[in-house]
């Protein structure tokens, strides 16, 4: 039996797995022993990657009678090209857009950005907008580059670990293992819900929903007043601290309990824990990222780390845990929110550099970042966008306020879905379906949460007619008439070489990474410049205290705390929070509903966690059917699950069911345009029997 090492393409940890292959079939999957990242362990999803199989080999085209029929790839590419061009000619270039993903390789994302953004001249955003845009913007503004600074190992080296809006026991079990291995650290979880991680933490800070920014500004004020700050670090390596100090001066302990639910005494205790910690690390994820003031909240965490000197040293850091397997690849190399490599669309030197690498005229490169995911849906509903290309994502399910996307589908003249599965909630409505292959049949690179490049190796041979996303993008590009410029993109390896060139001289420079270095290995973290030697396998940024801002200093960024834009009312008196509830189910379940082990352990219907006391008050019993109505006018049917882990007037719904995001709001962070999935006023009613 042949054994081939590859990288799991679910979450951002990037576990490496050994695939045992015989007769072009995966017989078993075992996590790569002694791999730096996952150390011979993984979660159930990785072990079941053999279940990912292409739904079909030939594309499907909807006929005039509404029936989908198989067509050749040539016909599909030609149809894509002619229909999209027709729409662009009729309604303008930007009447076509795409919604993409962080579930495909960096090479594929780069090529899509080349064909879609550069040559079609269209807007195209990724589902990274739904999870990591906030962290990316926070990093860019504070550090000068989208640079998660840590190595996962820092969890093992901390004496104080603070999780904020993060539930790694469920979302990133392998990351949680790092914390478990650290027997000495005090673990603190800040979360309005008593999540699985809070249960296993030493301290649960049970804040009111969306009051985290208030808590962190108050903590900053207390740390300053007590002189529990690292003055030397602040002085030498940061800027705008004085203004920040004046800003947080108004966030005193006096109002903190009313606003956050955390008493003065507990805030003081938390400040003291941070002060006494020698190696304090802060780890945040969706509870922070998916908010209406999310970027500033993330920066309030960065500010705490910087002012206490807890950054750039082992066991420290303001550390954003990434969501999807290639969010980092998408953030830097998809040509959607920045020019390749984290470059600037407005910087002429950057533009020339990229154009030279691609051997194209600089003027055809996009001149601005894409409009956001939410704006694309809005423009479909306003009639400005008529053609949509959806790649490996499922917006009918996962977009916030998802009935808006349901309406958008009806407004489109041409919907193309490119996916592994032809039965996703979005694919069911498309006019053209382009079937792609699973990651087990692809070659490329993923970049994990700690900036580690790791190879996706084709563990299975493709069967005749099967095309990877990379080849589909090439086919579309050629049908659109892009010929010579695509010669530089013949294979994923060619794309990898282009990506390296894009990175040259940037903070994420990977010019020293030979592709063979990331195959059958521990991978390589960026930066890794030409001439660098790989001495340490687990590296963190800012050990030299030099940041990527023009001044070389980290910036304190802050603003006044916003009022909740959609507060609870008498009619909608409960706050709905959303998130993941199982390790086995992945996002919209398109990839995991075919795994029997996972299905056996998953509740089939949409369900809602409701506090026992509230349920009693409302006469709701376990497994009763309830209607949840939200302030956006949408309703959904859920099964009641009585719980003591949500507070009395809070409700929690798993994101794995399409009913949930019908209820989430069309409210976005000002800077990142990431949806505020975690706060929605709702009411509930028991369904009469």
């Amino acid at each position: 039996m042949e054994v081939k090492q590859s990288t799991c393409n679910y979450c951002s940890i990037g576990c490496n797995l050994d695939f045992y292959v015989e007769d072009n079939k995966i017989r078993k999957i075992i996590p790569t022993k002694n791999h730096t990242v996952n150390k011979g362990f993984c979660c159930i999803k990785g072990l079941q990657l053999n279940r990912q199989e292409s739904s079909r080999r030939l594309p499907l085209l909807r006929g005039e009678d509404g029936v989908m029929r198989e067509v050749s790839w040539d016909k599909a590419f030609e149809t894509f090209s002619s229909r999209m061009k027709e729409i662009q000619n009729k309604y303008g270039k930007e009447s076509v857009a795409y919604l993409s993903t962080a579930q495909i390789t960096t090479e594929e994302l780069a090529l899509l950005g080349f064909v879609g953004r550069t040559y079609m001249g269209i807007n195209g955003d990724g589902n990274t907008r739904l999870c990591m845009a906030t962290a990316a913007v926070a990093h860019n503004q504070s550090f000068g580059y989208d640079s998660p600074p840590y190595a996962l190992k820092d969890l093992e080296l901390s004496d104080t670990i603070i999780f904020i809006g993060a539930n790694p026991i469920v979302t990133h079990p392998v990351l949680w293992e790092y914390a478990v291995r650290n027997k000495d650290a005090k673990i603190i979880s800040i979360d309005p819900r008593k999540s699985e991680t809070t249960i296993k933490s030493d301290i649960w800070i049970d804040i009111k929903p969306k009051s985290d920014i208030r808590l962190f500004y108050t903590l900053a004020n207390v740390l300053i007043e007590k002189n529990w700050i690292d003055k030397e670090y602040i002085e030498k390596y940061s800027e705008d601290f004085q203004e920040f100090k004046e800003h947080v001066n108004k966030y005193t302990l006096d109002g903190v309990e009313e606003k956050t639910g955390i008493s003065k005494k507990r805030v003081l205790e938390l400040a003291e824990i941070i002060h006494k910690g020698k190696k304090v690390s802060f780890w945040w994820t969706m509870g922070v990222n998916q908010g209406y003031q999310a970027v500033r909240t993330a920066q309030s965490i960065i500010n705490l780390a910087v002012m206490t000197g807890n950054i750039g040293r082992e066991g420290t850091g303001a550390n954003s845990i990434t969501g999807q397997c290639n969010a980092m690849g998408s953030r830097l190399y998809s040509n959607t929110t920045c020019l390749y490599g984290g470059r600037n669309y407005n910087n002429l030197e950057d533009r020339k550099e990229v154009a030279n690498i691609l051997d194209i005229d600089e003027s055809i490169l996009p001149t601005k970042p894409t409009i956001s995911y939410g704006e694309i849906i809005d423009r479909i509903n306003s009639g400005e966008i008529k053609g949509l290309w959806v790649i490996a994502t499922n917006p009918r399910h996962s977009s916030s306020d998802n009935m808006k996307f349901a309406k958008a589908i009806n407004n489109l003249e041409f919907l193309v879905v490119q996916d592994l599965y032809d039965d996703t909630d979005t694919a069911q409505h498309c006019d053209l379906f382009l079937p792609s292959v699973p990651g087990t049949k692809k070659q490329g690179t993923l970049i994990n949460t700690e900036r580690r490049l790791s190879a996706v190796t084709p563990v299975l041979e493709r069967e005749e007619g099967e095309l990877s996303d990379y080849e589909i993008f090439l086919g579309i590009g050629k049908a659109l008439g892009i010929e010579e410029p695509l010669e530089k993109w013949n294979t994923p390896r060619d794309a990898f070489e282009l990506i390296k060139q894009f990175s040259k001289g940037m903070p994420g420079d990977i010019t020293g990474v030979d592709y063979n270095m990331i195959v059958n290995s521990n991978g390589v973290q960026w930066p890794f410049k030409k001439g660098d030697r790989l001495i340490e396998d687990e590296r963190r940024l800012f050990e030299d205290n030099k940041y990527y801002t023009p001044s070389g200093k980290v910036k304190f960024i802050y603003e006044d705390i916003m009022e909740i834009p959609n507060p609870i009312t008498k009619e909608y008196p409960y706050v709905l929070n959303t998130g993941r509830t199982t390790v086995g189910q992945w996002h919209t379940q398109t990839r995991t509903s075919e795994i029997p082990i996972v299905e056996d352990a998953s509740i089939k219907q949409a369900h809602l966690l409701i506090n026992v006391e509230l349920a009693n008050q409302l006469g709701i019993k376990e497994s009763d059917k309830i209607i949840v109505s939200a302030i956006n006018g949408e309703k959904g049917r859920f099964i009641a699950k009585l719980s003591r882990n949500v507070k009395k007037y809070h409700l929690f719904a798993p994101i794995h069911y399409i009913e949930t995001n019908a209820l989430t709001p069309s409210i976005f962070d000002t800077y990142s345009k990431e949806p505020s999935y975690k706060y929605m006023p709702v009411n509930i009613k028991k369904v009469a029997k």
């Binding site: 075992i30 993984c42 026991i169 199982t582 056996d600 352990a601 998953s602």
Partner: protein, 135 residues
């Protein structure tokens, strides 16, 4: 003997026990599982190494044996006739054949034959929902 004790109230259905079981045995298959009961509650199902093991009583070849010293119900695939009587007899429905050749019985050995030496599922459970207890 020490047995795996399950506290269903602590189980979060994360399948870390199932994952640990597969990895510990270097296998394609799990020897335990987690299901949802009719109330929507997680129900981890493990071999109980029964005092009166039906799988042993129904085994025609002696491949399934109760080790009187350790209390573990052991399985010897080399003596197995693949008759699946043990699968039919197990009152907990925990036994099943392997998924590749459909011959070998996937039977918990308390990780005795593995590098772990003691149940890997217990070691890895993040919620301490399964523990090793003397009974």
């Amino acid at each position: 003997m020490k047995r795996i004790k399950i506290d269903r109230d602590k189980c979060i259905g994360c399948l870390t026990c199932t994952t640990a079981c597969i990895i510990s045995h270097g296998s394609a298959d799990n020897r335990s599982r987690v299901v949802i009961d009719s109330y929507g509650k997680y129900a981890p199902i493990f071999c109980r190494h029964c005092e009166k093991p039906e799988c042993v009583y129904t085994c025609m070849t002696g491949a399934m044996k109760k080790n009187q010293d350790t209390g573990i119900v052991e399985y010897d695939k080399d003596h197995c006739a693949n008759c699946f009587m043990c699968i039919m007899a197990c009152p907990y429905g925990v036994l099943k054949p392997d998924s590749v050749e459909h011959k070998v019985i996937m039977k918990c050995d308390m990780c005795q034959g593995t590098e772990s030496g003691s149940p890997s599922c217990v070691k890895k459970c993040p919620m301490n929902a399964i523990t090793l207890e003397e009974v």
